[in-house]
């Protein structure tokens, strides 16, 4: 049974024909659209490496069926930078050394972007730690991750205040 799905990924419209209704959004991205920045760490919604933004909310793409994404707006790690200009969260992750092996990093960054979009990051480290606790980092770079999210939120607030485009 073939099923056709139209969805927007990083601003580009895709018409995808699925030969299997069980294909996850993660596998669609990685295996059919060659968007391999989103990682598969556990494939069961428990590690957060596959986090992407779906219609403005962060989700585990390994638990999202691609067929359910008709009409969806999807943002992945590949769509975050504007050309050569990194998103404030990306820049802050580099500045705060918020990774080691880098495998969880795309998921961490998309989760942080989602947390900020949801208005939940704030300036409170405890809130950031809570809001980021669904993204595992086995290298234990959490201290840097928390600082990076806090700084990115502050910079984005500042830009909003001064009217500069984020």
């Amino acid at each position: 049974m073939n099923k056709s799905v139209n969805l927007s990924i990083n601003g580009t419209r895709h018409a995808v024909t699925l030969d299997d209704p069980r294909v996850t959004l993660l596998d669609l991205l990685r295996e059919r659209l060659d968007l391999t920045g989103t990682k598969k760490g556990c494939d069961r919604g428990q590690c957060g490496a596959c986090t992407i933004i779906l219609n403005g909310r962060r989700v585990n793409s390994c638990l999202t069926l691609a067929v359910s994404c008709g009409g969806a707006e999807i943002l992945t790690i590949e769509g975050l930078a504007q050309g050569d200009v990194l998103h404030p969260v990306q820049a802050a992750f580099i500045e705060h050394d918020a990774f080691q092996c880098g495998f969880c990093t795309p998921g961490q960054i998309m989760s942080a972007v989602g947390l900020i979009m949801e208005g939940q990051a704030g300036d409170d480290e405890e809130r950031i730690r809570e809001g980021m606790s669904g993204n595992l980092c086995r290298c234990g770079a959490y201290a840097g991750i928390t600082q990076a999210v806090r700084q990115a939120q502050a910079r984005m607030n500042e830009r909003e205040r001064t009217g500069e485009a984020a």
Binding site: D20, R30, D34, L35, T36, G37, T38, K39, K40, G41, C42, D43, R44, Q46, C47, A49, T76, I77, E78, L80, A81, L86, Q90, A91, F93, I94, D97, F99, Q100, C101, G102, F103, C104, T105, P106, I109, E125, E126, I128, R129, E130, M132, S133, G134, N135, L136, C137, R138, C139, G140, A141, Y142, A143, G144, I145, T146
Partner: protein, 780 residues
């Protein structure tokens, strides 16, 4: 002469070489690479019995399943069915007998991942169960060991204990730990012409993958090329066990004549590959009124699993770290690597060191309890000092940074004031109890086995002045690649952007050791420097000829090469060398000097130097729920003259957090049938952002260059900070003591999960300190 030096060399906090790609998702891991045409997907069929004879293995339905191209068992291996890294006869695929749940019994290649995985479910196996030995205790009683027991001895421990004013006996245990690298084990094997094979393997040990693939395929080493650009975490889990996955992929690729990718799912990864050795220690100790250890007799038993794998060297390192920072005048330590019907345990950050260091702390707290002293006082009085500075295996500890670290920690962590506050808090709060401990560590740097301490590097300077860097070390996130690039940049005095880092390959650097034992930057950095020095000497000769002078007077600095008041840019000199027909390519080689170890007598100086660290850790427990939090941690760590302070601080924080997981929350549970019940993040909890200490201060010990002439006087960093997290357990134990008294606290065993804390608060129910037996009763 222009004295300008480059800005991106050693001792700078350079960002990770892949930083920009990591944050954009463009750093490629093996599963992200473009798949070659015709790629087949591998899968593994696992045993579901702990110990059994295979009476019947029916793979006909698997072979007939849609998309399946080939199915292989032990009988189909063209070479030797042997994946042992040290010992012979450690089978890759079970042949007639399975020795643990999760052991591979057959491998499949199919057109798609889903087809391979689905086909595996069609296997039919009839087993005859055999007696399974699942615990350390069971194996000890049956005297089942994977290697001969080890004995380390100095002085007369028995006599010292008998003559001591006080003596006591005790027991402690610590659990295992899954590596839980975020990138599961993976390999892509691609057949080449003439029976050769190229393997991308997520491995810390490309040479070993090469050797084992060659052994399985009955091919010479030279026919196998192994390559790895980066791993998504490894922590020791991809030291010997990456060979299993790569070996299976290579077998399937050779059989099918097509490239094969084998990527383990999380569950299969946790079932098929080994973990940190869980530990049981028993001891008798004699001591004086001040708590000085006069004699110690200790037994350390590790759960090795079904084969030896790396358990012998892990046990050796455990024995070599029982002393930690303590002087043990009369000591006997016996080590047992217990053969159990559980997956073979393997290398994991610290490699037995943490287990040995954990064990001695049980001695310390029991002495303190017996004498009514603080554990800190007992630690302090047993520290190494002048005249008391030789390890049980006979090595002088050399420079001893422990006193300085602990002194600086007093101020950095504001210890006296906080101790007072905690005492007040504990006196007033009905159900939260806190404790603060200070803890110092010493960790031996070098592989215990001297022959492993060698490394190679390959450098090319091109005529535009750019440099191609290759060495035998692998990148798993620890920042090795950037550190070695900094070293090369400093040697040539060119900015690091001109040094191009390339993937680790067995056809560039042969006969390498694993990137392990914290040795990566020490030995590969030295090899890269050796290569750079060779090329520099050739370039200097050309510069000297051009300018008229002595090559010895040529100076490389800030992108230029100087002789007297004449200079030439580095790229121009490279071009000139080419024109003068001088080679700009060199290999560098390094072997660590001054190390020796006699495995039979367990004596020698196996470590080139020691790395030191100290921390102050504050924990709180809730006596109603057993929940614990690590509230604040202050660390001062000795990195010598750090090659890259930012990378080293990351290693310290990350190592500590990983150790915190081992000590406080990560719990592997096997059921009565020997089945691992914790093989996914749903049941196996590693630290999250919520678990790290909210106050987490990390400092590098200032102005402490390595006394040994290591690479730019730096010190290794990978493993030592992990051991600092033993302080999490000690702080929780002190908090239990604050709530329920020391006799109860001494029943606590690791990991200090909420359940374990509640049991300890209840005095261990049976009133016994025999944690392992207690756990065994509960679980089996």
């Amino acid at each position: 002469m222009n004295a300008r030096v480059i800005a991106s060399g050693v001792h700078q906090s350079a960002i990770h070489d892949s930083a920009a790609r990591h944050v954009q998702g463009s750093a490629l891991y093996i599963d992200d690479m473009k798949e070659p045409e015709g790629l087949l997907h591998g899968w593994v069929i696992l045993s579901d019995r702990a110990h059994a004879r295979i009476l019947m293995l029916d793979l006909s339905s698997v072979e007939a399943a849609e998309g399946v191209v080939c199915v292989m068992t032990a009988r189909d291996i063209p070479g030797l069915n042997d994946a042992g890294p040290i010992m012979k006869g450690e089978v890759l695929l079970a042949d007639q007998i399975v020795e643990h749940e999760g052991q591979a019994i057959a491998i499949i290649a199919a057109r798609s991942f889903a087809q391979a995985r689905d086909a595996a479910k069609l296997v039919r196996v009839t087993y005859e169960d055999l007696p399974a030995y699942l615990t350390i205790e069971a194996a000890l009683q049956a005297e089942r060991f994977v290697v001969a027991p080890l004995h380390m001895q100095r002085g007369d421990a028995a006599r010292a204990i008998a003559e001591a004013p006080h003596c006591l006996s005790g027991e402690t245990s610590a659990g295992g730990q899954d590596h839980f690298y975020l990138e599961t084990q993976i390999a892509v094997a691609t057949p080449q012409e003439n029976g050769e094979m190229h393997i991308f393997s997520s491995t810390q040990h490309p040479t070993e993958v090469q050797h084992i693939a060659a052994r399985l395929l009955a091919r010479p080493y030279a026919a196998i090329t192994v390559e790895v650009r980066r791993m998504g975490g490894a922590f020791g889990g991809k030291e010997s066990h990456a060979s299993l996955i790569a070996g299976m992929a290579a077998l399937l690729a050779a059989r099918c004549g097509e490239p094969v990718k084998l990527r383990l799912s999380r569950d299969v990864d946790m079932l098929l590959t080994g973990k940190r050795h869980d530990t049981l220690a028993r001891f008798s100790v004699g001591f004086d009124d001040a708590g000085r250890i006069l004699g110690l007799d200790m037994m350390i038993a590790l759960r090795a699993g079904h084969v030896a794998d790396l358990s012998g060297p892990v046990l050796t390192r455990a024995l070599c770290h029982v002393d930690n920072v303590y002087w043990l005048p009369n000591v006997k330590v016996s080590g047992y690597a217990c053969k159990t019907n559980t997956v073979s345990n393997t290398a994991f950050r610290g490699f037995g060191g943490p287990q040995g260091m954990f064990a001695i702390e049980a001695v310390i707290v029991r002495i303190a309890e017996r004498l009514g002293l603080s554990s800190e006082a007992v630690r302090q009085i047993n520290h190494y000092g002048p005249g008391q500075d030789t390890t049980p295996y006979g090595q002088s500890i050399g420079e001893n940074n422990t006193p300085r670290l602990l002194e600086e920690l007093k101020t950095a962590a504001d210890i006296a004031r906080r101790r007072g506050e905690i005492a007040q808090f504990n006196a007033s709060h009905p159900y939260i109890k806190k404790a603060l401990v200070t803890y110092a560590v010493k960790f031996g740097i070098s592989f215990n086995l001297p022959s492993l301490n060698q490394a190679g590097a390959l450098l090319h300077v091109y005529t535009d002045g750019s440099v191609h860097l290759n060495h035998g070390g692998t990148e798993m996130g620890q920042g090795l690649y950037v550190k070695v690039a900094q070293i090369v940049a400093s040697c040539f005095q060119i900015e690091r952007e001109h040094v191009h880092i390339s993937s680790t390959r067995t056809d560039k650097i042969p006969n390498t050791s694993a990137t392990a034992a914290s040795s990566g930057s020490d030995i590969n950095g030295m090899a890269a420097k050796a290569a750079a020095d060779i090329i520099k000497s050739r370039m200097a000769a050309i510069a000297a000829a051009k300018f008229g002078g002595a090559a010895d007077d040529v100076v490389f600095s800030g992108g230029y090469v100087y002789l007297g008041n004449r200079s030439i840019s580095f790229p121009d000199l490279a071009q000139l060398c080419w024109a003068e027909r001088v080679s700009l390519s060199a290999t560098g080689y390094y072997r660590t000097p001054d190390i020796h170890f006699d495995q039979a007598s367990m004596t020698g100086s196996p470590f080139y130097y020691f790395s030191y660290g100290a921390c102050a850790t504050e924990a709180a427990i809730d006596i109603l729920t057993g929940e614990n939090r690590i509230l604040r941690v202050d660390i001062i760590h000795d990195t010598g003259a750090s090659l890259n302070p930012a990378v080293d601080i990351g290693q310290i924080e990350g190592g500590f957090v990983q150790g915190q997981g081992w000590m406080t929350m990560e719990e592997l549970v096997w059921d009565q049938a020997g089945r691992l019940r914790t093989h996914a993040p749903s049941t196996y909890k590693i630290p999250t952002s919520r678990d790290v200490p909210p106050i987490f201060n990390t400092h590098l010990l200032a102005d402490a260059p390595n006394a040994k002439p290591t690479i730019f006087r730096s010190k290794a960093i990978g493993e030592p900070p992990f051991t600092l997290a033993i302080s999490c357990f000690l702080a929780i134990q002190e908090a239990v003591a604050a709530a329920a008294g020391w006799p109860a606290a001494l029943t606590l065993c690791a990991p200090a999960t909420p359940e374990a804390i509640l049991r300890a608060l209840g005095g261990g129910k049976e009133g016994s300190a025999f944690c392992e037996q207690k756990a065994a009763k509960k679980l089996f």
